[in-house]
C-alpha cells in the first residue's frame, strides 16, 4: 500500500472467506475493540444495526405512550390523564412513531443492507453515515429531554399554528419540537444524500440500473424525494422558531399566514408518508418472491411504480387541507391526483398477488407477515382512496377514520413489512434463525391485535368521533368501540413483546443459519452470516438480476461471476461504477474509523441546546468547535488519494 499510487490494473482473486486475503481484509476493515473503537466505527453494518435497535427503542417508547392514553380512552369521561397530559402524550406518540421510528428503522435496514445487496463494501461516505446516525440519536434525546423537563410538544405531530405559536403555547414545548426536528431534518437529508451517491455510484460491476434489487429502487427513490422535500419542513420549523423566539411575522396573526405553515408542512408531509413506506414495501418486493420460489412478477412495473408514487406524492399535499376553504379548482385537481395515486400502489399489490399465485409459497413466519402486510396494505390503501375524494373527506377528515387510516398505513405498510423483513434478514445479520413457533404466535397476536385494535377506529370515525379528544361523552355509540380498540392495542403490544423475546432466545439458542438459509437469489446471501467487516472478499460481477438462481432459471446466455473478482486489498478500498451500466470506473479509497462524526454531532446538538436556552456564547463556541472538527474531517489526505504527496 503506497500513498502515491494513483492508478493500477486490479488483479483477480478467488472467493474464499478463509484465505489469507480474507484475513488481510478483515484486518483492514475491522472496527477496533474498546469503547473508543465502538464510538469511532464507520462500518455500515455496525451503524445499520444501531439504527435498527435505536428505532425499535423509539417504537417501544412511542408504543408505551399510546398504551397509557388508550386507558384514558377505554371508557367515556375518564380522568386518568389531564387534558394537557393527554395532549403531550398523543403528540409525543405521533412524533416518535412518524419521525423517530418509521423512517430511521427503514434507514437502518437500508444502511445495513444497501451496500450488501449492491455488492460493495460500505456506504459511499462512511463517516457521514456515522454522523447521520449520531445526529438522529441526539435529536431524539433532545426531544425527550424536553419531555423529561415537562416541555413536551403538545400541539399534535403536525403542530398547526396559531395553536403552536407563542401566544397560545408560551412554554418551551414547541421549541423543543421545532429544534429537534431541525436536527433530525439535517440527519435525514444527509443520510439521503449518502444513499443517492452509494446507489448511483457503487453498485457491483455489471449491476446495471435494471438489475438493482427493488430495495435499491425504493431507497434511491425516497432519498431523492427527501432531497426535495426535507427542506420544506426544516424551514417550516425554523420559521416557527423565529416567530416564537424573535418575533418575526410568518405565521402569527394579525399579519402572518397560519396556512403558510400547513402548506410548508404538508409539502413535506405527504411525500414523507411515501418516504416511510416505499422502502418497507420494497423489502417485501425483494423478500416475498424468494419465499414464493420465483422471481418477482413485473420487476420493471414495480420499480417504475415506486418512482411514480414518489413523484405523484409531491402533488397531493393539499388533500390535507381540503377543509381550509380552498378554491374549487384546487380542490378538484388535488382530489383527482389523490385518487389516481392509488394506481401505482395497485401495480405493487397485483405484482405480489401474482407472485404468490404463480409461485409456491413457503408458509414460514416471514411469509405470514408479508401476507398479513398485503391485507393491511389494501385496507390502508382503500381508506386512503376514500379520503382522497374531497366531499367525503370533508366528513372523514380529523375523525378516527383518519386515525385508522394512518395506523393502517404506518403500522401496516411499515411495521408489518419491517417485521417480515426482520424474520427474513435476521439470519444474515446474526447467523441464527429466529424461532418459527414463537414467530407464529408473534405474527398472529400482532395481526389479530392490530385489526381488533385499529379496525374499529374506522367505525368510531364514521360515527363521528373526532381525533385528538382526551375524552368522549357517553351516548355517542363510541363506548364499546373504544374499549375494543384499547384491548386490541394491548394484544398487539403483547405480540410485539414476543418478537423481542424471540430475538433474545434465538440469539442464544437459535439454529445456525449458514450463508443462505432461504435459498435466496441475491448477492448478500453469498457472504457468510453475519457478513465479515469487508462484506465481500472479492467483488462479484453480475450478469442477471438473480445471480444465485441464474443457472437454475437458465434464461440468460451470460452468467454472473461470483467465484472470482476484484479483491481491492491495497488499503480500505471499494469500487466506483458507472451510474446506468455498472461499468467499473475507479477504485475508491475508503476512510478509516473516526471520532469526528460523533464529535461534530455533539457540537451541533450543543449548539441547538444553546439555541433553546439562548446562551449565545454556547451557540458560537460550539459552532466554532464544529467548524474545527469539520476542517479536520475534510483535510485532504494522501492516504485517501485526495491530494498529491
Amino acid at each position: 500500500m503506497t500513498a502515491a499510487e494513483y492508478d493500477r490494473v486490479p488483479r483477480l482473486a478467488v472467493r474464499d472467506y478463509a484465505s489469507p486475503l480474507a484475513e488481510k481484509l478483515r484486518h483492514l476493515w475491522e472496527t477496533k475493540p474498546g469503547v473508543i473503537g465502538w464510538l469511532a466505527s464507520v462500518d455500515h453494518k455496525e451503524i445499520g444495526l444501531r439504527y435498527i435497535v435505536t428505532a425499535f427503542i423509539f417504537l417501544i417508547v412511542g408504543g408505551i405512550e399510546a398504551l397509557i392514553f388508550r386507558i384514558q380512552l377505554s371508557q367515556p369521561n375518564l380522568t386518568v390523564l389531564t387534558p394537557e397530559q393527554y395532549n403531550e402524550l398523543f403528540t409525543m406518540h405521533g412524533a416518535t412513531m412518524i419521525l423517530w421510528y418509521a423512517f430511521p428503522i427503514l434507514t437502518g435496514f437500508s444502511v445495513y443492507l444497501q451496500p450488501l445487496v449492491i455488492g460493495t463494501r460500505d456506504m459511499a461516505m462512511p463517516r457521514l453515515n456515522a454522523f447521520t446516525y449520531w445526529l438522529f440519536v441526539l435529536s431524539g434525546i433532545y426531544l425527550y429531554v424536553g419531555f423529561a423537563l415537562g416541555a413536551a410538544p403538545n400541539a399534535g405531530w403536525f403542530n398547526y399554528v396559531p395553536y403552536a405559536s407563542k401566544a397560545f403555547n408560551p412554554g418551551l414545548n414547541i421549541d423543543f419540537y421545532a429544534l429537534s426536528n431541525i436536527l433530525l431534518g439535517i440527519s435525514t437529508t444527509l443520510g439521503s444524500l449518502n444513499f443517492v451517491v452509494t446507489i448511483l455510484h457503487m453498485r457491483a460491476p455489471g449491476m446495471s440500473i435494471n438489475r438493482m434489487p427493488i430495495l435499491s429502487w425504493g431507497t434511491l427513490t425516497i432519498s431523492v424525494g427527501n432531497l426535495f422535500a426535507m427542506p420544506s419542513v426544516t424551514l417550516a420549523f425554523f420559521l416557527l422558531y423565529m416567530d416564537r423566539q424573535f418575533g418575526t411575522h410568518f405565521y402569527q396573526q394579525p399579519t402572518g399566514q397560519p396556512l403558510l405553515w400547513q402548506h410548508l408542512f404538508w409539502m413535506w408531509g405527504h411525500p414523507w408518508v411515501y418516504v416511510i413506506v416505499l422502502p418497507a414495501i420494497s423489502l417485501v418486493s425483494d423478500a416475498l418472491p424468494v419465499l414464493c420460489r420465483r422471481p418477482l412478477v413485473g420487476y420493471t412495473a414495480v420499480a417504475l411504480a415506486t418512482v411514480l408514487t414518489m413523484v405523484l406524492g409531491f402533488g397531493v399535499w393539499l388533500h390535507h387541507m381540503f377543509a381550509t376553504g380552498l378554491p374549487g379548482l384546487a380542490l378538484g385537481f388535488f382530489s383527482a391526483v389523490s385518487i389516481i395515486i392509488v394506481i401505482p400502489s395497485a401495480v405493487s399489490a397485483f405484482a405480489w398477488l401474482a407472485t404468490i399465485w404463480t409461485g409456491q409459497p413457503v408458509l414460514n413466519t416471514a411469509f405470514h407477515f408479508f401476507a398479513g402486510f398485503i391485507v393491511v396494505f389494501v385496507i390502508g390503501g382503500v381508506s386512503g382512496f376514500m379520503t382522497g375524494s374531497v366531499p367525503v373527506d370533508w366528513q372523514l377528515t380529523d375523525t378516527y377514520f383518519v386515525v385508522a387510516h394512518i395506523h393502517y398505513v404506518l403500522i401496516g405498510w411499515n411495521l408489518f413489512a419491517v417485521m417480515g423483513a426482520s424474520y427474513f434478514w435476521f439470519p444474515k445479520v446474526t447467523g441464527k434463525l429466529l424461532d418459527e413457533r414463537l414467530g407464529r404466535w408473534n405474527f398472529w397476536l400482532m395481526f389479530v391485535g392490530f385489526n381488533v385494535g385499529f379496525f374499529p377506529m374506522h367505525i368510531s370515525g364514521l360515527l363521528g368521533m373526532p381525533r385528538r379528544i382526551y375524552t368522549f361523552p357517553e351516548g355517542m355509540g363510541l363506548d364499546w368501540l373504544n374499549l375494543i380498540t384499547t384491548i386490541g392495542s394491548y394484544v398487539f403490544a403483547f405480540g410485539f413483546l414476543l418478537f423481542l423475546i424471540n430475538i433474545v432466545l434465538s440469539l442464544r439458542h437459535g439454529v445456525e443459519a449458514g450463508p443462505n438459509p432461504w435459498d435466496a437469489a441475491t448477492l448478500e446471501w453469498t457472504t457468510p452470516s453475519p457478513p465479515p467487516p469487508y462484506n465481500y472478499v472479492v467483488l462479484p460481477t453480475l450478469a442477471t438480476r438473480e445471480p444465485l438462481w441464474e443457472t437454475r432459471l437458465d434464461e440468460a446466455p451470460f452468467h454472473s461471476d461470483l467465484g472470482k473478482g476484484l479483491p481491492l486489498d491495497h488499503g480500505k478500498e471499494a469500487l466506483a461504477t458507472s451510474t446506468l451500466d455498472g461499468q467499473p470506473e475507479a477504485i475508491l479509497r475508503m476512510p478509516e474509523d473516526s471520532l469526528m462524526p460523533l464529535l461534530l454531532a455533539l457540537a451541533l446538538t450543543l449548539m441547538f441546546a444553546g439555541l433553546i436556552v439562548k446562551l449565545w456564547w454556547l451557540v458560537i463556541a460550539s459552532l466554532l468547535i464544529g467548524l474545527l472538527f469539520q476542517l479536520i474531517w475534510l483535510w485532504p489526505r494522501a492516504q485517501l488519494a485526495e491530494r498529491r504527496l
Binding site: 411575522h249 403558510l260 460481477t541 475508491l588 475534510l634
Partner: protein, 203 residues
C-alpha cells in the same frame, strides 16, 4: 443486456475522476439546498399575492448597493472558475490566485450586504416583509459564508501544492458550490428586487 467484464486496464484510484463520490455528494447537496430556497421564495410569493397593505413597506427596493454587489459576486464566480482551470493546466499560481480572489470578492460581498441590511427602513420583526427579506437574504448570507469557509482552506491547500492535474476534486467541489451560491443570489435578487418593478408592487 449489459455485459461487464472484470477490468484489465488501469483504474484510477481515489478522488480523481471528474465524478467522484464528493462530486455526486455536492450535486445532491445542491439539489436539496436549491429546494430550500424554492420553499423560501414560495413563502415570499405566498405573502406577495395576498392583499398586503401595511404588511409591505411603501418604498420600492433600491439597487444602489444590491446592484454592484451582484456584479461582485458574479466576478467572484469567474475568478473561482479561472483558478480551477489554472489548476488543471498545472499552474499552482493561477489556482491559488483564482481561489484567493474569489474568496476576497466573497468577503466584499458579505460586507456590502451587511451595509445593505443596515440601510433598510424595516427590520426582521417589523412585519412580514421584513421577516421574509431578512430570513431569505440571511439564508443566502449563510450559504455565502459556508462557501467562503470552503474557499479559504482550498486557497491554502492550493498554495501548499496539494492539488494538481487529476488530483483536484476538492477544488471542483468547492467551485460548484460557489457557482451555486451565485445562482441562488440571482434568483433571490430577481425575486426581491426585480419582481416589484414587474408588477408585484409594494405598498
Amino acid at each position: 443486456m449489459t455485459i461487464v467484464a472484470v477490468p484489465r486496464t488501469e483504474l484510477p484510484i481515489g478522488s480523481v475522476t471528474p465524478r467522484t463520490v464528493g462530486w455526486w455528494g455536492i450535486i445532491a447537496g445542491i439539489v436539496t439546498e436549491a429546494s430550500l430556497f424554492a420553499y423560501l421564495l414560495f413563502g415570499y410569493f405566498y405573502f406577495a399575492i395576498q392583499p398586503h397593505g401595511e404588511m409591505w413597506p411603501a418604498e420600492m427596493p433600491t439597487f444602489k448597493l444590491a446592484g454592484p454587489n451582484t456584479v461582485i459576486l458574479l466576478i467572484s464566480s469567474v475568478a473561482v472558475w479561472y483558478g480551477e482551470r489554472g489548476g488543471r493546466q498545472g499552474s499552482r499560481l493561477k489556482q491559488a490566485a483564482g481561489l484567493g480572489t474569489g474568496f476576497l470578492l466573497g468577503v466584499i460581498f458579505v460586507t456590502i450586504q451587511v451595509l445593505e441590511w443596515k440601510a433598510k427602513s424595516f427590520s426582521y420583526n417589523s412585519g412580514p416583509y421584513g421577516s421574509l427579506f431578512f430570513v431569505i437574504t440571511g439564508f443566502h448570507m449563510g450559504h455565502v459564508v459556508l462557501g467562503l469557509l470552503m474557499l479559504f482552506p482550498l486557497t491554502i491547500w492550493s498554495m501548499l501544492g496539494y492539488f494538481g492535474p487529476g488530483r483536484d476534486a476538492p477544488i471542483s467541489i468547492g467551485a460548484i458550490y460557489w457557482h451555486f451560491v451565485d445562482a441562488v443570489w440571482l434568483t433571490v435578487f430577481f425575486s426581491l428586487y426585480i419582481t416589484p418593478y414587474l408588477g408585484l408592487r409594494h405598498g
